[in-house]
Amino acid sequence: MNDREVVIRVSGAAGDGVQSAGQIIAKSFSRKGMNVVTYNYYQDIVRGGTSWYQIRASSDPVRSQGDGLDIVIALNKDGVQRHTNPDIDEGGASPLSKEGIVIFDKSIQGYEEHGQRYVPMPLSDIAMKYSNNALMRNTVAIGAAMASINLDFETLAGVIGDQFGSKGKIADLNVNAAKEGYDYFKKNQEPLKKNLSFGTKPKYLVGGGDAIGLGFVSGGMKFYAGYPMTPASSALMYFANHASKFDIVLKIPEDEISAINMAIGANYAGVRSATGSSGGGFSLMVEAVGLAGMLEVPLVIYEAQRPGPSTGLPTKTEQGDLNLVLGAGQGDFPRIVLAPRNVKECFELGREAMNLAARYQTPVFVMVDLYLSEHYETVDSFDLDFKIDEGKIAGDNQENFRRYEDTEDGISPRAFPGQPGLMHNEDSDEHNEFGQVVSDAVTDPRERVKAMNKRMRKMETYRKNMPPTYTYKFSDAEYAVVQWGSTAGVVEEAVDILRNKGIRVGAIEVTHVFPLNHDIGDLVRGKKKIIVVENNYGGQFDRLLRSELLVRTEPVRKYDGESFYPGQLAEEIEVVIRGGK
């Protein structure tokens, strides 16, 4: 047990308030200036089933939901058994540690014990004193959990107060219920042996979807069209809740095809806009991705992955849409794919995507997965200054305006409806520099080649301006672990575990997935093994890497719907290093 951190899991059925309880706990820690990462394990069901919410809070930086489990709040019998039994596989999540405690209502009986500390409490009895149903038992249990690690009650009371803020009396009742739980534990139980230290000021606790929302707005987005689909909806909800405040527009149309065409229309008219979905909804958008590529209309597409095929596992995580995104649209046209590694980077790359789209006038994807879009992390600060790059825009009234002028960098001047003297046609048929179709009457092969080369040249321009690839503990590494997107935190923690065992391994973290930065080729040169870690079955990124760099790689993959866990991942990497399975 790491005494500098605490891992708490709230477990219950859907509808039990597991998530809101988890968020109260998470916020209590972030307000104390601790580093927090949460993990949301839930099912595609509105009532019933098993769901749990894990909070890892540490005095030191944390980059994943972590291993280890100190406290379980079990809202039903299943929760008591599930998290204490080391034989139950939850996709790599740790069972309750030997010194850990499980808090539950005393009415729950007949469970099997596995040696940890079982703490039955009168959760419902206390709850019923403050309310006419037992739902408030969550709050009582949270009080007890906070007492078990000696967190001051005032912090928790503040968070509960804010959570129920608008409902004054209800807030008071909840605070009182929590206090009883807190006092009960103090009186009857020994605290856990922890040595937590706190920060000097509160940290922001932000979800991946929120950060995407913040990033897009910071990048100048004024219009978002999307059709709800987990896990892309967390960003959509951010827009729904902030539209009036920021004077931005959220449109939920009849389907994803409409959504992407709307986003293209708004961008065409000169308003920064984006669309987003998960794999299923994005599949419907595919044709229009090519439209944006052909018309050279900037377009940011937020693609939040969940396991496929088809409806797949709607509430689980995977990195299985890379092939779809790379292959979306007939023909060749420029596209840029970004994959943030963490919540803060959702913000940073989200707004960068807005500028890249405007600069290169082509589709730019921001790819996350359920793990990243639905979990919360603490962030110390956001740099709110950002320079919006409008890209090339034509001045009014030009003779023979060439919207698709064949320039050296491939980027031509845009013109927006309403601008005098720049009327032109933007056409999904192949066209010349003026936007006139070259596919009717007689197809002009030279114009076609010129147009293709012009568009594709933008990718060369982009390549020259790409940032270098991130690495972690890489300078003396004998083995290279390569990852993309949200697995960075877990990979870094696995690297730390392996390094503690004396294995010289380092990580290459790819945020700019396509086009791939060829500096990765220099980085992996001479390494004993190149291990590609990916949350999918087929190694979609691995294939990209191999085809671009012509290197031999070794796979570590997971496709059970859950994220990697650091300990588990370190073991698997070690197996590969030691010569394979």
Binding site: V249, M262, G265, A269, P417, E426, D427, Q436
Partner: protein
């Protein structure tokens, strides 16, 4: 609201550089002329006009008019047109396309754009056939009609686009015929002036692939109709259902209702094209503390 003085705009101001390459005699020529006429008559300058289309013979329209043109995907003109109008309400936005484009591939957009009452004009070149793909049955092809894809006769009853528009909630529903460009222009002017979703279905003979619904076919049947009370939905529905030897053309229904943008809390007060970017402040992060 202050009206800005009307500019003198000539029909030739809308003369595109590219010559329309439809088959000689194609109905689309009449619509092209009519639209130019209407826009010029209304004194709208070409740079404030966007014509959005899908894919089909008819959808090549934006290439042939001097304005801002958007020639997009088969069936998808309406979402594009809606968004353009929303983000810059100063523009006059016209969507144009075929019957296959609008009532097959894009049916859902037609229905919902009408229901939303987006302030745009949607004109369909209804030739009861797929023209560009050389003569397959379309959603408005008559029962029994022999086409390339229905060698034994069409077995699907045709959709009545006017009834579809009315039941969806369109606030301006009209029908016209390519044989009378002046009449199309008159209706188009009213459609553009109407605040809300205006739909005009135009019988537009495809002289190459539709040997059934010819100019003669329509000349024999169509007659001009004007309702006593254009807001009477029941009458509009009844008259729009008339089919056979006598087919009415004209404006069947027109009613003033709030547009989508009127109802949107942001669009009702902000022109997004002109509004400043929102600059995030520290206070915007407070909810995360």
């Amino acid at each position: 609201m202050m009206e800005s003085p009307k500019q003198i705009v000539k029909q030739t101001d809308y003369q595109g550089e590219v010559k329309a390459d439809w088959c000689p005699g194609c109905g689309n020529f009449a619509q092209l002329t009519a639209v130019k006429m209407a826009l010029a008559d209304l004194g709208i300058e070409p740079h404030n006009v966007v014509v959005v289309s899908g894919i089909g013979c008819s959808s090549n329209f934006p290439e042939f008019i001097r304005a801002y043109g958007f020639h997009g995907l088969h069936g998808r003109s309406l979402p594009v047109a809606s968004a353009i109008k929303w983000v810059n309400p100063k523009l006059t936005v016209l969507a144009y396309g075929g019957d296959g484009d609008g009532f097959f591939e894009g049916t859902q957009h037609f229905y919902h754009t009408a229901k939303r009452n987006v302030d745009i004009t949607y004109m369909v070149s209804d030739n009861q056939i797929f023209g560009l793909t050389t003569g397959q049955a379309s959603p408005t092809s008559e029962l029994g009609m022999v086409t390339k894809t229905t060698p034994e006769g069409n077995i699907e009853p045709p959709v009545n686009p006017l009834l579809l528009a009315l039941s969806a909630g369109a606030t301006f529903v009209a029908r016209a015929f390519s044989g009378d460009p002046k009449h199309i222009a008159d209706i188009t002017k009213k459609a553009i002036e109407h605040r809300g979703f205006s739909f005009i279905d135009v019988f537009s003979p495809c002289v190459t692939f539709n040997k059934l619904n010819t100019y003669d076919y329509f000349r024999k049947r169509v007659y001009k109709y004007e309702p006593e009370d254009p807001e009477d939905f029941a009458v509009a529905y009844k008259r729009a259902s008339e089919w056979g030897d006598r087919i009415p053309i004209g404006i069947f229904y027109q009613k003033s209702e709030p547009t989508y943008a009127d109802r949107d809390p942001v669009l009702s007060k902000v022109n997004l094209r002109e509004s400043p970017y929102y600059k995030l402040k520290e206070q915007d992060l407070e909810e995360f503390l």
